[in-house]
C-alpha cells in the first residue's frame, strides 16, 4: 500500500520563501531581494520553515568570511521534506515556479 503524502499547509508567502531558497537564494537578505518581502516577514517565516523541518540552517566557514573581511553569514538549504513539500506547492501555486524559477528550470 503506497504511503499517503501529507500536503503541508503553507501560505503563499511561505511558499515563495521556500521556493526562493530552493532557487539558490540561501541567505535571508537575498531571499528578501528575490521575493520583495520585508525582513519582518522573511525571517519569522524562515524560522517556521526550519521548525517544520523544510529547511536547515548552517553557518558558513570562518575562512570565507575572513577572506572577504566581513561577518559570518548563516545560510539555509531546503531539506528532503521541503523538496517534497515544494512539489505539492507547485501544484497548488502553479505560477510560483514562473515567478521564481527552480534551478532545473533555469538551466533550460
Amino acid at each position: 500500500m503506497p504511503a499517503m503524502a501529507i500536503e503541508p499547509k503553507l501560505s503563499h508567502t511561505a511558499a515563495m520563501i521556500l521556493q526562493a531558497i530552493h532557487a539558490g537564494q540561501v541567505y535571508g537578505f537575498s531571499v528578501m531581494e528575490m521575493t520583495g518581502l520585508p525582513s519582518g516577514t522573511v525571517y519569522p517565516a524562515m524560522r517556521r520553515l526550519e521548525r517544520d523541518g523544510m529547511i536547515v540552517s548552517k553557518w558558513e566557514q570562518q575562512s570565507i568570511a575572513d577572506a572577504e573581511q566581513r561577518p559570518l553569514r548563516k545560510y539555509y538549504r531546503v531539506t528532503r521534506t521541503g523538496q517534497s513539500a515544494l512539489e505539492a506547492i507547485h501544484k497548488r501555486y502553479p505560477l510560483l515556479e514562473k515567478l521564481i524559477p527552480s534551478p532545473e528550470v533555469k538551466r533550460v
Partner: protein
C-alpha cells in the same frame, strides 16, 4: 552628518538590533544577533551602492518581529506558560489592564476627571446651592432675583455670604467685525469670592466694583474664541449690548456648579437691578457654622413665607454632597446588581468534596483569593467605565449623565459579577485553569433513570466536573470529582503537547 544620514547609519542600525535582542530567548540570543549583524553588513553595503536606498532602518525594524516570533514560539518561555489558555494569571492581568485603562481614560476626559479630583473649592461642605426642587431641579435656575435680593438681608443668621448668577446665551464681539454666541452668566460680584477661586487679575488697579462690568472667561473660551490672545485682559468687550472689561481667566476645572458657562459678567447690586425681578437664576451661599442645626449637613432646607400664608421650601445642597453623588450612585447600583444577580445565575459555586489530607490549605485558599481578586478588580473597572461613558460628552451637573452612569454601572456590575461566578465554576479548584474538553454524558430521555449532563476535565489531570442538564433532587448542582495520582501519566505535558493540548 545630517539627521537622515544619522538615522540610516550602521551604528544606529546595530543599536536597533541590540534593542530587539532582549526579546529573543536567552539561549538563542547570541546566535540570533550574529545572524542579523551578518546580514546587516550586506544590507549596508547594498544601501551604499545605491540599490536599496534608505531600507537599512526598515530592515533592522523587522528584527523586532523576528525576535517576537522567537519569544512567542519558545516552548520554555515563562511568558508563554503564564499566558497559556485559561490561565488564572492571564485572567487577573487582563482585568487589571482593563481597570487601569478605564481609570486612565477617566483622567483624560475632562468631565470624569473633575468627578475624580477633589473639589477645587475651599470648605465645599459649607458651600450650598439653594434650589426650589432639591436634587431633581438643582441643574435648573429656580430662584427669582427678587427672592435673592430679599435673602441678602434676611438670611444673615444662616449664611455668611450669598451670590446669584443667571446663565444666558449672548452674542459676544470676539473680533472687530465678528460676533459669536456664548453662554454668559450675569452674576453678583462676590461669586468668585465665595468660591475662593483664584484667577489672574490682569488689571490690579481696576477693582471689580468699577463702573463698567467685569468679565471673567474660562480658559477654553479664551483659547477657542480669542485665540489665546495674551493682551485680551484689560480690554473692553461688547456682550449683548453691554460693555464689560476682561479682568481674568479661570481654568475650566475651577467651575463645577450648574450651568455650562463660557464667561461671567460680574456686576454690583445696582446693575443687577436692571434685570426683571421675576427672572430666575442660581443662588450659591456659604453656610454660617451656627446657621443650621448640628448634624443637618446632609439635608438642609429653609422655608420662605409667601402671601396668603403660603410657604415655599428651598433645599440647600452642599457642594461636597454633589461631589459624592457619582460614588453614591456607584454604591447604589452595586447593591441593586447584587440583589438582581441571583435572578441571572445561581450563586453556589458547586460541590467540591473536601480532601484535607491531600490538598494543602494554600491551594484551597488560592481558589477563594482568586474570586476575591476578580471581584476587587471588577469594582474599579465598572466604576471608571461608567464614569467614562456618562461624562465623556455631558457636563457634571447633567441629569442625563447621572442616568447614563446609573444604567451603565448597574448593567456592568450585573454582567461582570455574573461572569465572575460562571468563570469560577468553570475552573479547576487545584490549578485554577479553565476546564476543557466538554463532553455530553447520558441521554436526555433517561433523565429520571440515570445521570444526564456535561462533563469537563482539567487538562492537568486534577479532576472532572459534572454539570447536570436538569437539576434534580439527587443532583442539583455541579460536582467535582478529584482524580488520584494514577491518572497523572495521561495528563503530563509530554503526552499533551503532541496531542495538541495547550
Amino acid at each position: 552628518m545630517s539627521v537622515r544620514e544619522l538615522i540610516h547609519s550602521l551604528a544606529i542600525s546595530r543599536m536597533i538590533l541590540r534593542m530587539a535582542a532582549p526579546l529573543v530567548p536567552r539561549r538563542e540570543r547570541a546566535e540570533w544577533l550574529a545572524e542579523w549583524n551578518g546580514e546587516l553588513w550586506h544590507v549596508w553595503h547594498s544601501c551604499n551602492s545605491g540599490t536599496q536606498g534608505s531600507n537599512l532602518t526598515a530592515f533592522c525594524l523587522g528584527a523586532f518581529q523576528d525576535a517576537y516570533w522567537l519569544r512567542r514560539n519558545n516552548p520554555n518561555s515563562s511568558l508563554r506558560r503564564l499566558f497559556r489558555s485559561g490561565s488564572p494569571v492571564k485572567c487577573g492581568l487582563s482585568l487589571l489592564v482593563f481597570a487601569l485603562a478605564s481609570m486612565w481614560v477617566c483622567f483624560l476626559v475632562p468631565g470624569s476627571r473633575s468627578v475624580m479630583l477633589p473639589s477645587p473649592y475651599r470648605d465645599p461642605g459649607d458651600l450650598v446651592m439653594i434650589s426650589h426642587g432639591g436634587h431633581s431641579s438643582e441643574h435648573l435656575p429656580t430662584v427669582r432675583l427678587e427672592d435673592y435680593e430679599s435673602w441678602e438681608t434676611s438670611t444673615g443668621h444662616l449664611f455668611t455670604q450669598i451670590a446669584f448668577y443667571q446663565p444666558a446665551r449672548k452674542r459676544v464681539r470676539v473680533a472687530p467685525h465678528r460676533t459669536t454666541e456664548l453662554s454668559v452668566a450675569r452674576a453678583t460680584d462676590n461669586l468668585f469670592e465665595i468660591l475662593n477661586v483664584p484667577f489672574r487679575a490682569a488689571v490690579p488697579d481696576q477693582p471689580l466694583h468699577a463702573s463698567s462690568a467685569s468679565l471673567i472667561l474660562t480658559q477654553s473660551a479664551w483659547r477657542r474664541y480669542f485665540h489665546s490672545d495674551p493682551n485680551l485682559e484689560g480690554n473692553t468687550i461688547e456682550i449683548g449690548g453691554l460693555q464689560a472689561r476682561v479682568v481674568g481667566i479661570i481654568s475650566d476645572n475651577s467651575w463645577q456648579l450648574p450651568g455650562n458657562i463660557d464667561a461671567w459678567i460680574l456686576e454690583d447690586a445696582k446693575h443687577l437691578d436692571e434685570m426683571p425681578s421675576s427672572s430666575r437664576g442660581f443662588v450659591l451661599a456659604r453656610v454660617k457654622p451656627s446657621g443650621f442645626p448640628v448634624g443637618s449637613s446632609v439635608r438642609r432646607s429653609m422655608t420662605v413665607p409667601r402671601e396668603k400664608g403660603d410657604v415655599d421650601r428651598y433645599d440647600c445642597v452642599s457642594l461636597a454632597q454633589r461631589a459624592h453623588e457619582p460614588f453614591a450612585l456607584f454604591l447604589f447600583t452595586l447593591l441593586l446588581a447584587c440583589l438582581a444577580l441571583p435572578a441571572t445565575t445561581p450563586l453556589p459555586l458547586g460541590e467540591y468534596p473536601l480532601r484535607p489530607d491531600r490538598l494543602p490549605s494554600a491551594i484551597r485558599f488560592r481558589r477563594w483569593f482568586f474570586i476575591v481578586i476578580k471581584i476587587a478588580l471588577i469594582l474599579p473597572l465598572v466604576f471608571f467605565s461608567s464614569l467614562d461613558l456618562a461624562y465623556a460628552g455631558l457636563p457634571l451637573d447633567s441629569p442625563a449623565a447621572q442616568y447614563i452612569q446609573m444604567i451603565a454601572s448597574f448593567l456592568g456590575f450585573l454582567f461582570a459579577l455574573r461572569w465572575a461566578l460562571q468563570d469560577q465554576r468553570r475552573r479547576c479548584p487545584v490549578c485554577l485553569r479553565l476546564l476543557t474538553n466538554p463532553a455530553r454524558v447520558g441521554q436526555a430521555s433517561r433523565n429520571f433513570l440515570a445521570w444526564n449532563g456535561t462533563e469537563l476535565m482539567c487538562s492537568s489531570g486534577h479532576g472532572l466536573l459534572h454539570i447536570p442538564e436538569i437539576p434534580t433532587s439527587w443532583f442539583s448542582t455541579q460536582r467535582w470529582l478529584y482524580l488520584d495520582s494514577s491518572w497523572s501519566s495521561l495528563f503530563s505535558d509530554s503526552y499533551l503537547a503532541p496531542a495538541g493540548f495547550s
